[in-house]
């Protein structure tokens, strides 16, 4: 399969784009062993130049031992040094330095050369142990430095593979002893990896999420069993929706942004959030980068569409949820229980958090008999020692339940609020919640 690909790739790159290509870049692009890539370059070079002489230029990499003239030069230099040494006062006091090392140090030369100078350079070698085409160019190049751009491409574009697995495909030397930490903070990864690179790490996340959500939703469902009609319905439906949705999502960040009502999987979240942070970065990063790699554009386009579709879906879901919340309001006591449950969860959270809530944005509020309760988004700063002993500070947004039983004078003012907030929540929530937040600052 790559046998056909490589011709297209080389033709496109050399003849259409007029850009040089090295064996390494070719092997990365068509996913073959580097040694095979070198032979492909040779094949292409031969074919093209047979069709149209001198249409493609090549550079060669020669490895071997150079002619002895250089060696003797080196030796002469050394003899000279030795003479100086004998004049200097050192040897008198030093045993064992009198006889210089007669054996010349064996030197292997690796030389990169254009095809124009190939024969001349070859003549300098006594023994050529290996020779191969290093790169092909559309025409003779004056500055070999341009080839390093190809290598830069290799370094930046083809990072998606696990570096420790690269050897299998490309034939780098395998070292089974090297260990690599998977970056946990995501700082390193987000900076360097492009979108496809981040995907493999993001993948397992939905799987993790499902059990988390399930375990979380179960107790709440069992608790509410005793209570009457509407509330259990709401919670059950809620849990249903949470169950069905997370697997579709790729990023946690989005999930929490758009889910105003659902209960977040709190205990698991601390583990998941770094990845969520990373995939958020990924989303930001992919856009400016998408211009550069042309091959991936189609993929990116598809990904973007998918994302939008998901967003819409979520928006719909949001509206449903809000309606449900409204339906639940008449039952104070039951609903209180629910929020009590949520509060029970809160201490779990506070164990982790080192610093208290940073900003509070109450989003959904339901008023029942002058009492307001709901969930608000809280940005918490958390210091966690990770598995490697580094202290990691994370900022994460957490949904927190709250109720305001203790504030009797408020209701008058607050009465008109819920409607507007519910409406505003529908539209405002996904975009930006700043205005609502400022509205609730006092509460």
């Amino acid at each position: 399969m790559p046998e056909q690909n490589y011709k297209e790739y080389l033709a496109a790159r050399l003849l259409a784009e007029n850009r040089p290509v090295t064996y390494r870049l070719l092997s990365r692009a068509v996913k073959v062993h580097v040694n095979r890539g070198k032979q492909m370059l040779y094949e292409f070079h031969r074919n093209q130049n047979a069709k149209k002489p001198r249409s493609i230029h090549a550079t060669y990499l020669i490895t071997g031992k150079k002619r002895t003239s250089e060696h003797t030069n080196g030796l002469n230099g050394k003899d000279g040094e030795d003479a100086v040494m004998q004049d200097s006062p050192f040897p008198s006091s030093l045993p064992g330095t009198q006889e210089p090392d007669e054996k010349p140090v064996s030197t292997t030369s690796i030389v990169l050369v254009r095809e124009e100078e190939l024969e001349k350079t070859k003549a300098e070698f006594v023994e050529v142990t290996s020779i191969h085409i290093y790169s092909l160019e559309p025409g003779p190049i004056e500055d070999l430095g341009v080839l390093s751009l190809c290598n830069e491409e290799v370094a930046t574009k083809f990072t998606k593979e696990d570096p420790l697995e690269r050897w299998q495909l490309y034939g780098c030397i395998h070292n089974p002893h090297i260990k690599r930490r998977t970056p946990k903070s995501g700082i390193a990864a987000s900076k360097t990896t492009s979108k496809p690179a981040a995907k493999p790490t993001a993948k397992p996340q939905p799987k993790e999420l499902i059990p988390a959500v399930q375990t979380d939703s179960k107790p709440s469902a069992s608790n509410t069993k005793t209570s009457t009609s509407a509330a259990p319905k709401a919670t059950l439906q809620r849990s249903n929706s949470t169950k069905s949705n997370p697997p579709k999502k790729t990023s946690v960040g989005d999930l929490f942004k758009s889910f105003a009502k659902t209960k977040p999987p709190k205990p698991k979240e601390s583990e998941d959030s770094p990845m969520g942070g990373m995939s958020e970065d990924e989303g930001e990063d992919s856009e400016p980068e998408s211009g550069a790699p042309k091959v991936d554009e189609a993929k990116l386009e598809a990904a973007r569409k998918e994302k939008e579709a998901r967003k819409e879906e979520l928006l719909k879901m949001m509206e449903e949820d809000v309606d449900m919340a409204d339906a639940a309001t008449p039952q104070d006591t039951n609903a209180d229980e629910v929020s009590q449950d949520a509060n029970d969860d809160a201490p779990l959270d506070s164990q982790d958090k080192a610093e208290p809530a940073e900003s509070e944005e109450p989003v959904v509020a339901a008023v029942a008999g002058g009492r307001r309760r709901g969930r608000r988004r809280v940005t918490k700063r958390k210091k966690v020692k990770d598995a490697d002993g580094y202290l990691v500070t994370k900022e994460e947004t957490v949904w927190e339940s709250f109720s305001e039983d203790e504030k009797p004078p408020e209701p008058k003012k607050l009465k008109p609020v819920p409607n507007s907030s519910a409406k505003g929540g529908k539209k405002g929530a996904p975009k930006g919640q700043g205005s609502i937040a400022s509205f609730f600052k006092k509460a």
Partner: protein
């Protein structure tokens, strides 16, 4: 003319690449001799005099013993040589020998007082290649706790540098100077057998399967500057180390490498303290006070990081800082900060697990010592040798390295002309155990030599050339301690 196996100038049908064997594990045990205390425990209020005191106290006995062996029966004109405890106790006309620290008073040696009065100069003097006064009026002194003794005599000229401990035999002249007949020094300390070093005896020995040869590659002076012209040789180096360049026979050679040691100056202009030239250039440009973030160029550091992150999956790396690297300037230079290597950092062992990264990326101090394949290896970024060579004339770097080992002090000129941390209780620059391999980075050209000590010690000295200028990589065979070179080059178009 190329061997058929290595000739990849072949077209279809493509040959299936042979699967190569994996790299061998590197038996590696870094020592933390040169690590400074961290944070608030690092003080700079101490006096440097303590270092000289320590040096003399620790080496006096060894030197005395050596001198006693040599001169006990020495007679000159019927007079027996006598040992004198303190240099000021030397009596005129009496044949005797003393032990003391050398101090060189040299015409061109930088002087702290000169630096202070520098503002009065019209133009600063050019940086010194040598401290030797061309008119030959340099004085040599021998000092201990009691005082100083001016030393004269043919044998001492141009042999010693400030800071080395020495025993001198001679008589005091009428003018008060000490006429020296002979000198001696401590010579090589004890050397452990391979695999028998104190620190690795207990460590589990990595069995080398089938006794396959392992080599260690040493390079220095990558000199990554961020300009484009040095990129290609660096790429070729990368491809050589990962075993991608060349044909199967040469790739098989590259598999034998089990570790890469980078001996300083990986970046070319990254020292936090500007050199005299750089400073002058910058000063003339404009006057800006404080740190100027806009002038910082992160490209070289990023390039080094990318380079390392690409070779690290296949070969473990030990990285020493050099004088142009962004580490502290005073010796011992501490490991380069991991923040410089966002991509290579995952290959460093997390601090919670262990201090040593045995396989992977190990940023270490300069100088550094440790065990590789059972051999004790000592290496520096080259500043110590460079500075020592300014004191003397017609001395090769290898000779300077040899002298340092024999004086048992690998940085004798610190703290006189080489900045260093003011050690109080222990001077790590004193050689307590003789290494098997001693390398020094950033030398002008490659060199190697095997020296022998009085107790049968054998040390391989390697002067590692600057990669940027020579394209040379030094390979040391860890079974036979044979040295070979790999040279990477690009033929300039049109040559």
């Amino acid at each position: 003319m190329a061997s058929t196996e290595g000739n990849l100038l072949r077209g279809e049908p493509f040959q299936d690449p042979t699967t190569s064997s994996p790299r061998n594990a590197s038996a590696y045990k870094p020592l933390h001799t040169f690590e400074l205390p961290k944070g608030a425990e690092k003080h700079y209020q101490q006096q440097f005099a303590d270092m000289y005191f320590l040096r003399l106290a620790q080496l006096k006995n060894a030197v005395k013993q050596k001198a006693a062996e040599a001169w006990d029966d020495f007679e000159l004109g019927g007079e027996k040589a006598r040992y004198v405890e303190r240099v000021l106790d030397v009596r005129q006309g009496e044949l005797c020998w003393v032990v003391g620290t050398v101090y060189m008073e040299m015409g061109l040696k930088p002087n702290v007082l000169d630096d202070i009065s520098k503002e009065h100069w019209i133009a600063a003097p050019p940086p010194r290649e040598t401290y030797v006064n061309p008119s030959g009026q340099d004085d040599m002194m021998l000092e201990d706790e009691s005082g100083r003794l001016r030393v004269t005599g043919e044998t001492v000229s141009a042999q010693y540098v400030t800071g080395c401990i020495l025993a001198a035999l001679g008589t005091e002249q009428a003018d008060g100077s000490f006429q020296v007949v002979a000198t001696t020094y401590a010579d090589l300390p004890q050397q452990p057998e391979r695999w028998k070093g104190e620190e690795i005896k207990k460590a589990p020995k990595v069995d080398s399967k089938g006794g396959k040869a392992k080599k260690v590659a040493i390079i220095s002076g990558l000199g990554i500057s961020g300009t484009e012209d040095d990129d290609l040789t660096l790429d070729l180096l990368l491809e050589y180390l990962t075993g991608e360049a060349s044909g199967p026979p040469d790739q098989a050679e590259a598999i034998q490498l089990s570790r890469l040691v980078i001996a300083g100056n990986s970046l070319s202009h990254a020292s936090p303290i500007l050199s005299r030239e750089d400073f002058a250039a910058k000063k003339s440009q404009r006057k800006n006070y404080g740190y100027d973030a806009s002038s910082y160029n992160s490209t070289p550091a990023e390039k080094l990081d990318t380079f390392l992150s690409q070779i690290l999956p296949t070969i473990p790396v030990t990285l020493l800082p050099g004088d142009s690297d962004p580490a502290n300037v005073a010796l011992p230079q501490q490991p380069l900060h991991p923040a410089l290597f966002p991509q290579s950092r995952p290959f460093v062992n997390p601090p919670s697990q262990s201090k040593d990264t045995l396989e992977g990326f190990d940023p270490v101090t300069n100088p550094w010592e440790g065990y590789i394949e059972g051999w004790r290896v000592l290496g520096t970024g080259g500043q110590t040798v460079e500075d020592l060579l300014r004191y003397v004339e017609d001395v090769e770097p290898l000779e300077a390295m040899e002298m340092m080992l024999r004086w048992r002090c690998i940085a004798p000129t610190a703290p006189d002309t080489l900045s260093c941390y003011p050690f109080q209780d222990d001077d790590p620059f004193l050689l307590k155990v003789c290494p098997h391999v001693y390398f020094s980075g950033n030398m002008d050209k490659f060199g190697k030599r095997v020296i022998e000590g009085p107790g049968g010690q054998k040390v391989l000295l390697v002067a590692v050339p600057k990669f940027k200028e020579t394209g040379q990589i030094v390979l040391v065979d860890m079974e036979s301690l044979e040295v070979e070179l790999v040279e990477i080059g690009v033929v300039a178009p049109g040559s």
